[in-house]
Symmetry: C3
């Protein structure tokens, strides 16, 4: 439960809002590299936290990201020509380099010096793990690039997809750190694709009411969820890394699943889904399965990043299937999540909730995010989680004795592979 | 003509408005029974007066209607599982019985007692005449079920359809009590289907400017419309029953037509159209004709309750047909009504009207509805028309001498069949 | 650059706004004659400056234009019957003549005299150059009909088309008086249709930074744009005639291109495009080319006045074509203009602009339009440009010596053909 004013504070991400200001202090995964054509290819529009941008790849293959509009008469640079040396507006031919500096003004006298005074917003760009990243915050505060394990493993070890979710980013993250729903909403997740159950997966259903034990950390929070499994305890550790990263509890030595939940605007979220193995390349079979909607990945309408199963078609829910035993009646983990989260409304009314003990992680997550936004706004306090060294973590799961401390027992499991960072 | 503030008062139906509060004191026809699957079948969303609800049929075939959202995290129960004993949210498995009581919470410790404290809004339900009815008002004020004749005749004597109208409910009702437009807008109503004229129908066109004589009643109003017919007078009596029922003047001993105009929200109306015969089953031919768009029923886009002839396609108006003599150029009485009423705007600006003597019933109808809403809000005065005994009425028509009193002369005709109420 | 309040003043055209009041003092090109069926044919809705109207052609072929709604209950007269003597509402049969006077009320007693008191807004209409014109201002202020040359040439000398633009009218006009963008945005305009270059057209590219010299006039402004062409100067003279007319600089003795940019509402513009020759009929080849999207005319989706290349499909921009040398990548002058102007937003934020010396005409145009609106509102000052004698002008272009005065040298070229006005 949250009062209305806190819900606003938590969810609004425009540039002038406290949360928007906070989020702009972090590097943002913004666009799949594959979505942007090669050197001097077509520019592309993108929206992040309500800002309209245009991305283009220069003659050297490096990416520029500019505010969308030409400084002259505000025409969109999306229609611009991607030329050697920069992007040229087609209205009057003003041309901008990747720093946003205007370098040509064919309709003005060449001696005027007018162009030297014209600069439009441009943003630092990085390209990692098949994703174009941008930094939208104050230049002086630009942080080091994050070092999450999926950002440093060899490219053949990682698969990324992205899907559009029609909700605010907070309720998307809240799904990502909610351990208990897995035992309910996703209970048929393995069965529907005919995948063999794993011992870990089966333990999820021994106890649907996990007890949570939260470990606040520099980077965010480690969430221990404890389920009874006979005389033992089955611990699943979800990691939340500021501001929008989560790591799904690992299942044995299978690939690790991770997410980044990035606001497109107040009511839409780009959900990045990453599967990676720290120690080996993904297999061809794994990649093909991900592409077709296995695990945390959604089958998408080609070219759209919109899931085939979406709000407009009730996620192709099959009521007969639901009735005869497939719990949710909806195929695919991300589609199940989207169904419930989008059904809550674009920005859920958190004053109408009734949270239980299983929602403890959600409560703390909100509090920390709110506190970070307020501390930055009111006292200029540096945002947490910016130190890349703290990102060298993993999710984990383990079966422990009833009296064991999960924090100690999973400490080694929760460390990312040191060898991966040697060259970084 | 109505001042803007009265127009607001008259037309807004949200739970917090005076009119919304008034309307919630009555039983509401909400959903065709045929639209809701059988025992443990798929739930269905429905909206009444702007409230989002979910309906489901339990293992005993009885219907439950709940507020749409789960109390926990506000996910929609529309996606819920319809199980023995209640509706289960697929997010975390919280389950509700038909009273709205939470009866299971698999993600919470079973000993917490938390579920006992959770109850969501649930509404009394009845199923009559092939319609699911709900009561949305304060439990202490729940009235007896209405006893309109079409609600008590044997099922084989009645046919119901429902169509979506893209206007506020008031301008829909105003069409229902407007006697004079029948002689104009609907003048070709019988001709277009090749139906034989009836003596009554033909009398409508002897005089297009009926004189109105209004008889306020306990249940609402009886509206006498008098047309000259040679030396005689042709009286047509429309009944308005609070808050949204109308009975079309009867034509000889043909089936009686009736309506209920129920707000879906401020700008959409569910128009229920009922044809029934008090004394005999409808014939197969009559039912087939109704289904195909005869009389007051509209041919609908299958599965939608949206008329085939609708605002998006200009009601398939045929200008050539209109020019060569078919007055409106639009086929079907309900489509003709929808065309003019929807063309007035979603909520017509009643400050721009110019009412004539033929609009007397509309003026009184508005005044009574406004007065009832204000009296309830300001003085807690019980709404009129709640006594089911007053509902035992019929519409009527009669040819009388120039000096006869229609009230006396049609008194017997306007009484519903006593035999129909013997068992109720 | 314009402050936000001036941008509002400049762009809002509702009846109660200063700009709306100013524009209503001029005759308005409103509908292609061909769009309105013949005598007693189907009425048609039209919107001008946010006003909802209905047009119909009476039994004599003359056009009536009325406010859309019946005075009685506000039903749309668009669904009305177009009868001898006027337009009849199909709801209750009220009938209006072309003056807006109610002439029949079949549902009211014939003796009441009520109809004589009912009159709805009706507007003066003219039909010229294949266009239906209306006057929406105060009757006492109705001006003489404009005498632009394309309005007085023989019908076989002129071709008109109209297209819907999804912007405010001001940014559309600003495109029309912007000489410098022609050398950039439209540089491939002749090439893409395989048209032979003309000497004038080629001179556009000798110098992409024209120097502007503005000549304020009674009717609006003559805009001289000077480009270096070897030792000479190539002058192109654009004419702006209050409030929304422009004449494209003439190319030799080819047909002259003209526009009228008329607000449909605040965010949509009807762009009228006119090609005419003052001295000869257009050839069949010219007309066929215009129809297929040559010159300033756009190929349209049949029956819609929406260009085939439009905002919804990114104007069918061909990125490969753009990359290999066709500057804009978009086919057709009007489509190129629409792409950049619509990309600026429906109403461009003029506080974000950075205007250069090449924008001098735009600055003066805005100032004059603002001043005219303010002067009318505050001091009742008669709008400029209403005297038809001042409309007898042409656009022009000329190659002159470096020291020549374009105003003097093109004076004769800029006069419309006297012979055309002998009979008017």
């Amino acid at each position: 439960m949250l009062k209305a004013s806190d819900n606003e504070l938590l969810t609004r991400v425009g540039a002038a809002t406290p949360m928007g200001e906070l989020l702009r202090r972090y590097w943002v995964p913004a666009l799949p590299s594959a979505d942007l054509a090669g050197p001097l290819g077509a520019p592309r529009r993108l929206s992040v936290m309500g800002q309209q941008l245009v991305a283009f790849r220069g003659e050297d293959g490096l990416v520029g990201v500019l505010a969308e509009r030409c400084a002259h008469r505000c025409a969109s640079l999306y229609f611009g020509r991607n030329e050697v040396g920069g992007l040229r507006c087609i209205y009057h031919g003003w041309k901008y380099d990747r720093s946003g500096q205007c370098v040509e003004q064919p309709t003005e006298p060449s001696t005027s010096g007018f162009k030297d005074k014209i600069k439009i917003p441009a943003y630092p760009v990085a390209e990692r793990a098949g994703i174009i990243w941008i930094y939208l915050g104050p230049p002086a505060d630009q942080p080091d690039f994050p070092q999450l394990e999926w950002l440093v493993v060899p490219p053949e070890n990682v698969f990324c997809s992205v899907r559009l979710q029609q909700t605010n980013f907070v309720q998307a993250i809240e799904g990502g750190i909610d351990s208990s729903h897995v035992s309910v909403l996703h209970q048929d997740a393995r069965r529907w694709r005919g995948e063999a159950p794993t011992p870990d997966w089966d333990r999820l259903f021994d106890d649907s009411a996990p007890q949570l034990d939260l470990e606040p950390t520099d980077y965010g929070m480690a969430i221990g969820a404890c389920r009874r499994s006979g005389a033992d305890r089955y611990w699943r550790v979800t990691q939340w890394v500021m501001p929008w990263y989560t790591l799904v509890p690992r299942d044995g030595d299978r690939p690790i699943n991770a997410h980044a939940w990035v606001p497109l605007d107040d009511t839409h979220t780009w959900t990045w889904s990453i599967s990676y193995h720290p120690d080996r390349p993904l297999t061809r079979d794994e990649i093909e399965a991900y592409r077709s909607g296995a695990g945390i990945h959604a089958e998408e309408i080609p070219g759209s990043h919109v899931p085939v199963r979406n709000k407009g078609n009730d996620y192709l829910m099959d009521r007969l299937l639901q009735r005869v035993g497939f719990f949710s009646g909806i195929e695919g983990i991300p589609n199940q999540d989207a169904a419930v989260q989008e059904s809550m409304g674009e920005i859920v009314d958190r004053s109408a909730e009734h949270l239980g003990t299983s929602d403890a992680a959600i409560v703390v997550f909100r509090r920390r995010l709110l506190r970070a936004a307020t501390a930055l706004r009111e006292r200029g306090e540096p945002p947490p989680g910016l130190d890349p060294l703290t990102h060298r973590i993993r999710s984990a799961s383990a079966v422990l004795g009833a009296d064991a401390s999960w924090v100690e027992a999973t400490a080694a499991l929760r460390r990312a592979g040191d060898h991966l960072y040697r060259t970084s």
